[in-house]
Subunit: 475 residues, 2 copies
């Protein structure tokens, strides 16, 4: 594994490829009111949750209502070799949605139908604009649920495109494990299907998993078939405070090594707890804390919780505080999910630069504690949250967007976090994707040969480089 | 989903691409005694467990001992545009190993080292010639195990290349879910790495899962990092006989729909039981039978088993017969794994044509019972085994290899099984791969557009078509 050789891409390379009037006219004629050039609409589709602020918006936005709409929009853009950027709720943290080479944004939020619930097969097929909360609302009566939960109420299209995960992945896997099949519109404007509703298959190349995590650079996802799970008979959630991050992390490491099938195990640091307390009017102990959830039969949940409580006690953990009712649990996980926004609001006007490394579980303490020490020494306000059961954690550096100095120092911290993760056998991104930000890190992690192979695939499938260009690979 | 339009490839298309003397000389000079042209060696490397019998053997065999050996062998073949076929134990059922376009077989069985056991991370890194049984022997002292079990003691390289699964997949997933990272030698003779030891990653295209299941057509796998699991605290295995296949299958469907985390649930039909009884000198009831295994804490195992026994009783299942000691369990699973060979031996001199469809679990009874009725009506001896928890089952038609009539009738049965599976939303191959046999079915299943995309990727990564050519795609 090479050590990182370059900083993250702090300033995206902007290479405008203008949308010619003939394309704009054709889009107007084909899409009528479903196409907009209004500056407010373009600006809304020209940003996301990343810290990049200086990229011009796309030339226009198509509000797709069907796969055919997507095919026609892509085909028109392909004729003119103009970029296409799929857009959902805009919750990317890595600049995926920014029009660094200009082009047309395809808004998929009107494609928000749950197309088929096959409860007896534990599968569901949705359009890409369905969000994870919407899906779980719509299938509530089936006794099933979709577990992947990245925090934001992201679309399932966006979650597929970035190979998202979040809380629950420690038990149920990520989008990689839970997408069974896709419909995709290619760079040529053709619709293809990958996969079937069978749980497993050896039928040819795994195009499904090639598109999962391809960040819009190979095609536009227009339909997704997902695995569902029976709602567990019993669910218990608990929080546990620790005197130090090390104690909390070591509790998690041992829990995973013992094979306890814990459904969620999230770490938030004292900074995050403080922000959450302020934001959500709570009075949690402002110490490092694990938030946990156990799924199973009543007996199994009890057994799991007792095992973890015992491990926690060995590491100076407090007694578990339980959240047993659905309402209490919702409050708990809402507080956890609000940690990001609570922390960002704790420094008015700031932008957040977020790290996303993931390491083998035994190296988690090494990776995390050194990162915390460096952040403490830097003086930059930060918070830490982590899907620690997977070895994945996020440092959020809260910077003044107008301060080049803070940005550079935060990026240097990020660089150190990534370098350490790679040296420990980990990855620069556990779940957010490469986007604009980690293109250098990707080369450091995967090596020039593997990245060259990715580029070869990209060039073969999208020879005019119109599908979300400038992401994953520089240029 | 289209209905299948063509029969399976019964007779492989043979297009010899001769290995020029200059290549043979270069291989001799580079590899010395590690290269063989002996006819017995070539013939051994020119066949597998498939029913194809008429393909000439490869021109020579390289016994690779290192990644560098593989790189050099591939680079020499690439210079001469001569095919390369990776070879493990030869347990393919689909003709993957046959030299339909001539070329050089690369035997990987000397690359049989377990390179790194990272017990504290639940990962292991192995060379491709390590077999699954060898791996589990070597890690016995760690308290961990590798669950994927396709029956044959296949190599982990071959299992990765075919996206294998087998018993245990219902609980632990397939090679798709359990390969974390690979080292691969490309068609250009370069070694690249895909993935890391982190449990999850969003770092660029998922090359790991592109190579898993690529059947040697994109590169040669030279190193594999796998997930391991803690040995369950308690294991119980049981068999249960049923008056009909329908009763057994409906028991499985309900078990899966309820979310019981059963570790293994295998169906064998009365024909298989009869063959196993003869082969293994057992006296099992010659009725359809489920073989089950439960993993977990003692309490959880008891709970799971009670739930399934209750479901089985509702479907006329007999009382469970338990296999509680490790020795009894080994005997039980050995009998299950011997079902294939026992059945083949029940008709001396026969070859076996095996189906491998997998359907959504609610359609399993439809898919399976009609297939059994057709086989009964055909008069061709057959047996049925199934990883039914995944919706995957195998009909094995035992044909006289010299009888074109039997072969044609068996292929017609196979065709009907596949057509039905595709119509029910399933796949033509759950775990064996496409190989020479299912190239037509792949087009029926995935559609021309998706197969064209697979070919585009193949051509981009292997422009001279030297990596195991003639498999997955015709020509």
């Amino acid at each position: 594994m090479n050590a990182p050789t370059q900083l993250a891409h702090v300033t995206p390379e902007i290479r405008q490829r203008p949308a010619p009037p003939a394309l704009i006219d054709a889009l107007k004629s084909r899409f009528g009111a479903q196409f907009s050039e209004a500056m407010a609409v373009r600006e809304q589709h020209g940003r996301d949750e990343s810290a990049f602020t200086t990229v011009p918006p796309p030339a226009g936005v198509v509000f797709a209502e069907s796969t055919q709409d997507v095919q026609d929009a892509v085909a028109l853009c392909a004729q003119h070799k103009v970029p296409v950027i799929p857009y959902g709720v805009g919750s990317s943290l890595e600049g995926h949605l920014l029009a660094v080479q200009g082009g047309i944004s395809i808004d998929l939020m009107r494609m928000n139908q749950v197309l088929a619930v096959n409860a007896e097969d534990l599968t569901v097929t949705v359009q890409p604009g369905v969000t994870r909360k919407q899906l779980n609302d719509e299938i509530k009566s089936t006794g099933l649920f979709f577990p992947i939960d990245p925090g934001a109420d992201a679309t399932l299209g966006g979650m597929s495109a970035t190979r998202a995960s979040g809380t629950n992945a420690v038990r149920y896997g990520t989008m990689r494990e839970n997408v069974l099949a896709l419909e995709v519109v290619t760079a040529q404007g053709e619709a293809i299907r990958t996969g079937t509703r069978a749980r497993k298959s050896s039928a040819g190349y795994d195009l499904t998993r090639l598109f999962v995590g391809s960040e819009g650079t190979l095609g536009v996802i227009t339909e997704i078939t997902l695995r569902l799970y029976p709602l567990p008979e019993a669910v218990s959630a608990a929080i546990c405070s620790f005197p130090s991050i090390a104690d909390a992390v070591n509790t998690v490491i041992q829990t995973i090594q013992l094979g306890v099938p814990i459904a969620r195990v999230e770490l938030i640091d004292a900074n995050s707890v403080r922000a959450v307390n302020q934001h959500s009017k709570l009075s949690l102990r402002e110490e490092p804390m694990l938030l946990m959830e156990f799924h199973g039969s009543p007996a199994s949940v009890k057994e799991q919780a007792e095992t973890v409580q015992e491990i926690a006690r060995d590491h100076q953990g407090a007694d578990f505080e339980w959240a047993d009712t659905p309402e209490e649990r919702t409050r708990l996980w809402t507080a956890r999910h609000n940690a990001y926004f609570a922390a960002v609001q704790s420094r008015p006007g700031c932008r957040c630069i977020t790290t996303d490394t993931c390491v083998p579980i035994s190296r988690l303490a090494d990776a995390l504690l050194d990162s915390v020490a460096e952040a403490d020494a830097s003086g930059i306000p930060y918070f830490l949250v982590g899907h620690v059961g997977d070895g994945n954690f996020h440092m959020g550096y809260l910077i003044d967007p107008d301060s080049d100095d803070e940005r550079t120092r935060a990026e240097r911290l990020n660089h150190q976090v990534v370098a350490r993760a790679l040296a420990l056998g980990g990855t620069c991104t556990g779940e957010h994707g490469v986007g604009l930000h980690k293109m250098g890190f990707l080369v450091d992690e995967a090596g020039a040969g593997a990245v060259a192979m990715m580029r070869t695939i990209k060039q073969a499938l999208d020879p005019d480089n119109i599908m979300n260009p400038g992401k994953v690979f520089a240029v």
